[in-house]
Amino acid sequence: MKWLIFGPEIYFLAVAAVFLILSVIRPTGRRDFLAGLFLAGLGVAVTLASLRLEGSLLSGAYRVDLFSQVFKGLLSLGFFLVVCLCSNLNGIEEGRHSEFYLLLATCTLGMMLLVSSLELLTMYVALELASYSLYALVPLRSGAGHQTEAGIKYFLSGIATSALMLFGMATLFAATKTTLISELALKLPDLLSTPMAFIGLLLTLCGFFFKLALFPFHVWAPGVYQGAANQVTAFVATATKVAAMAMLARLVSMSNGHTTLAHVLIALAILSMTYGNLVALVQKDFKRLLAYSAIAHAGYSLIGILSMNPTGYAAAVFYALAYLTMTFTCFLVVVKVASDGCDLAIAELAGLHRRSPILAMALMVGVFSLGGIPPTIGFTGKFLVFTAAMERGYFLLVLIAMINVVVSLYYYIQVLKAAFLLEPDEELPAIRLSAPATILTAVMVVVIIVGGLFPRYLFQLAQAAVQVLH
């Protein structure tokens, strides 16, 4: 019965196996979608059912606790939501649809293993499982040009960061003679004043900075966001960020409030916010804009983690959920408006308020949530993060972050202006949403607003989850 705590992982392994078989017998794309939707929905149920499980496997290298289970829940939710978008998977050739689901499932599996691993090598293997699935997913898009370039860029910069991370892990091992997080957490606080341990930890963090697209590990983001199929981008933009935030919280908590590390992270957070927001100002493509906004959001979420206090970690968990919902809502609009699977320029949103009022409303809520305007979940997330930073006395950091928020509002408003104000040059047909898609859109809008107004239970869950970190 001990293997039951391994439930979500085994389930997603099974999902991957199902799609492996389907890809061999090559059925039609429609059946793939329905199978994927069913299996993903069941996956959410399985992970939620195992939310309260606890236990340890492989002599402490793999631990199942509330922290990991909450993130597994978020990951399976992300997987489910992305599969919901795949009803017309026009960006990817029909024959490759089962491979798409297969890779999506293995990537989710990899990230699930990742959030539970408490040993550096396990962590590395899990991360690479997730990464290699993504390397294959990005160039899967049909059409010529961008996707291959994006895929190669992503792959090269990805393995370069992996190398850095491995080097960092090796250095950490050399400094502490252990790879177990539980022992590292005991030894590191004293050792962090030595350059070897400090650099080792910092380089280990790099692997997750890369996933989070934090400046200066962001170079892949715009190309990949634009080059990959819309559904793949939605997955990269939501689920992988959530996993990266979880791991950063776990690794940074080992340092036990080390000041120099906090200062380095503050510098990275400020650079990332400022760079992302400033470059986003001039973007014309909506997905590219979301990529730069993701770079900025990497900075905001890091503020919670670098505060290194219980409120901060809980705020980071809350922010991960908030980020998942609001980014997904934006990609929902992208997928539905660009139904032919092409990229979506901001100007192409023109007239959206007449073509589909509900999508326009979802876009407004999603974008305002990204911009941190209440009463949305994005605002509440920022508020929690800022409260945590203020508890540590980082007043200037909060002020700089708020100024960044105002800068970011400029480009978010440009998106809304296109959707609500501009009229298309030629009359475009109304966008017909199927009934499930309408419900999904409405649910996302409600979740963003209700999550923003009633953060109580979610925040308490986040607080309970991060208890294992300190």
């Binding site: 508020f383 409260t387 909060v398 002020l399 708020m402 104000l421 107004l453 925040f459 607080q463």
Partner: protein, 493 residues
Amino acid sequence: MSVELTYFPYLSCILLSCLVGLLVILFIPRERETLVKGVSLVFSGISLALSIYVYCAYDRTHGGLQFVEKLLWVEPLGIHYFNGADGFNLPLILLTGIVHFTGVLTMWELRGRVKEFFAFAFVLVLGVFGFFMSMDLFFLFVWYDVSLFPMYPLIAIWGTTRKEYGALKLFLYLLAGSALVLPGIVYIAVASGLHTFDILALMQPGALTPGQQRFAFLLFYLGFGILAGVWPFHTWSPVGHVAAPTSVSMIHAGVLMKVGAFGILRVGIFLCPLGWEYWAPVMAVLATIGIVYGIFVGLAQTDLKYVVAYSSVSHMGIVGLGLATVTEEGLNGAIFQMFAHGLMTALLFSSLGYIYDKTHTKSIPDLGGMSKVMPVASGYFIVAALAGMGVPGFANFWAEVTVFISALKVYPALGVLAICALVLSALYMLRVVQRAFYGPRNERYAQLPDVSFGLGLPRMILVAAILLFGLFPRLMLDLVQTAVVPFMGGLPR
């Protein structure tokens, strides 16, 4: 979950009537324009009725915070859903009710995207009501931003002159203000060591050191001051007011600018009284510059709406001057001035909106002799202009007199300067009235219809309210006094 509910939750019902109105509108098909307007009128009427009831039912002999609704919201952070009414916010709740109701009536002839307009207007008013009645910093900030973001679509879609520029400028300016307010709020909650956002708990003396109060007050003054149109952060306001459609100008100049001034009072002055005393001279100087500046720039305008917009800058300067005196009369006058100016400026924009809808011009030289063409519409404008000049008999007279008397005591030089400027403002308002409404008639507009009874109704309500509080100022002054006296008495000296 601890609930403290001593009264029927009238205040929440005001919010609820806006929220339900919004939801109902969202589910009406967009072709049913009249139905949308009717629903807006009904629900804005309900919120007006409730705000009148709360204003009258408030027990003046007891004073203090009444109609309290308190609900623990987010336990670990000390966030409460906490509403209450006192002598400070009651006038403003009433003002919001009146201006929104009359605003809906004013926009009765709106064509095109009617459903969205009234939906956004409800969001805006929901935020304003919530802001005025909230006693918790977290909710205060949430309502504050809720009242700001609908301004962008409202101006950019339905506005006129340079609407996109005006809307964007206004939006970014106001949110830049909130970028100072939010760190300030979190700073206060954390620095006090109380880890609560409850304003009453944070008000206790000694929660913050004098240095912290001086720092936090500056943040709130600058942050809310942008919205209150404090010179030199006022530049968004004339552009935004001119670009906005009529009822949005009414709500915006009439109510939203008061949100800024009230924020300075409720957050800055309540929580950082020592900072208030420290920065009061700076506030007084900036406010006086605002009064004088608004009048002189207004003198040079040829666009009628710009004239009104700049007069708002100068009238909000009077509010600022009242707050800066740190006296009972000054505070009282400032609150009264917020109320009176809200009604007066709503009337100005409302009557101006009618004239613009018919003539499609706001240029003073183009108009000319309008009182012969539209005697009633012109009448409303002239009444509002007289009220703005501080002619006795109108509510504004009492407000301005109260502020200036206390200003003369505390800052004699600035007081004299402001009074001189105000005399000058009478001159220029009369000049505008004379050029636009008297003199030779412009034949192009000779055939235009005058304002009908239905459309005149909102203006009549506003005139009636201005006269009511002008003739019986104690209806308001006494109420405000119930809040001001205990507050000033409790200040650490």
